[in-house]
Amino acid sequence: MEQDILTQAEVAQRILSGKTLLLAGDERLLAQLPKGKWIGGTIPYFITPSQGGLSSREKIFVTDISELAVSIEIKAYDENALGQVYCEEGDGGFSVIIIPALSPAHLAFALNAPNYKNFGAKPLVGWVSGVHLDDLGKATPKVFDGLTGESHGQKAVVMRVALAPGRAVDVGIVNIFEQGAGDILTFKEDGFSCHEVAVNGVNENFADYIKRNGLDTKLPLVADYYGVKVNVSFQSVGDSGGEVKFYAPVFSGARYKHARPVENYADAFSAELIKLGLSGDGIAFSCNCILNYLYLGLEGKGTASFVGPITFGEIAYQLLNQTLVYIKAH
């Protein structure tokens, strides 16, 4: 299962030879690829096998899942149709989803995926496409359906993969962040922003709380979902009495704590792999978060066998932040 950064010509050759591919790269490169069994999303940041983290507008990251896939289907979903993403026919297999950042599909999936009908009926993994950070506000994230050659800026694209006989997959995450020892934070409503937070049950303005307590907003909020740590990253903190914005929604009822600081990403990542009993064997796909890339300095650094796109959001059944997501093949 090849996972590497390749030239456009090398990717085109693999498509034309019938490979089933998951692609990440600059819009200009993806738009010129031949039709075939692939989906893709825009992003110019990657963790590569040979050079670790790097940014390139000239190469495409390729995850070749041909060995796993006996057949595929590709479908685009708008924000309303996404509610059926777990309801499609067929037993076994898994689905890969790519959603353009800040699109209606992104917002709908982020808020509603945990409550979608038949949640988790099939493994669902993927990522949120983005743009080069120099192009924020100028370019629009896109996703591509390789079968039709169409690109979408508002819809998600999903590849349904029927597994070869005897094969199975598991979806997992590696999250180096732990809940800190601080206050329990809860929110009245689900959403990407808030004014109020309940701190150990007492309401106050969240921006004021963050400033008064000197919270490092490069560290996420962390909720414990039956032993799995789910992050919500900070986007911005308003002035006194103002609004706090997040890159993923907070959910009412969930109990969050601000994350404990991480001294060294490589050490924390290795420790988490050991804790999970996870080796790099059988990793068919992975992606990591742009915030980990930026805040933890992943440029030029590797993450063991876990290579792939650096994304504006990670998806393992639901939207995640500051988390590595992977598919392990058996």
């Binding site: 945990p114 988790g120 598991d170 909720a223 799995v228 058996h330």
Partner: protein, 77 residues
């Protein structure tokens, strides 16, 4: 692998939080993060049954997953 029937007491024990297991199957952990909270807020028999039904269905639909098989061994022996 067959998933034990939803009449088994362990399913109720999980969704009510009476027993906690170290699970491997990620989707179940995410789902339980919500179900256990909802059942704690409303522990009526109907709500418990609905939660068991949802969790059982999730495991049944993913019965080929090695993580699911590990969880079944862990929960039911």
């Amino acid at each position: 692998m067959s998933i034990p029937p939803k009449t088994k007491a362990q399913w109720t024990d999980i969704v009510t939080g009476k027993k906690t297991f170290e699970l491997k199957f990620l989707a179940a952990k995410i789902l339980l993060g919500r179900l256990v909270r909802h059942v704690a807020e409303d522990p009526s028999a109907d709500n418990v049954l609905a939660a068991v039904d949802q969790l059982h269905t999730l495991y049944e639909k993913n019965s080929a997953s090695p993580a699911v098989q590990e969880d079944m061994q862990n929960i039911f022996g």
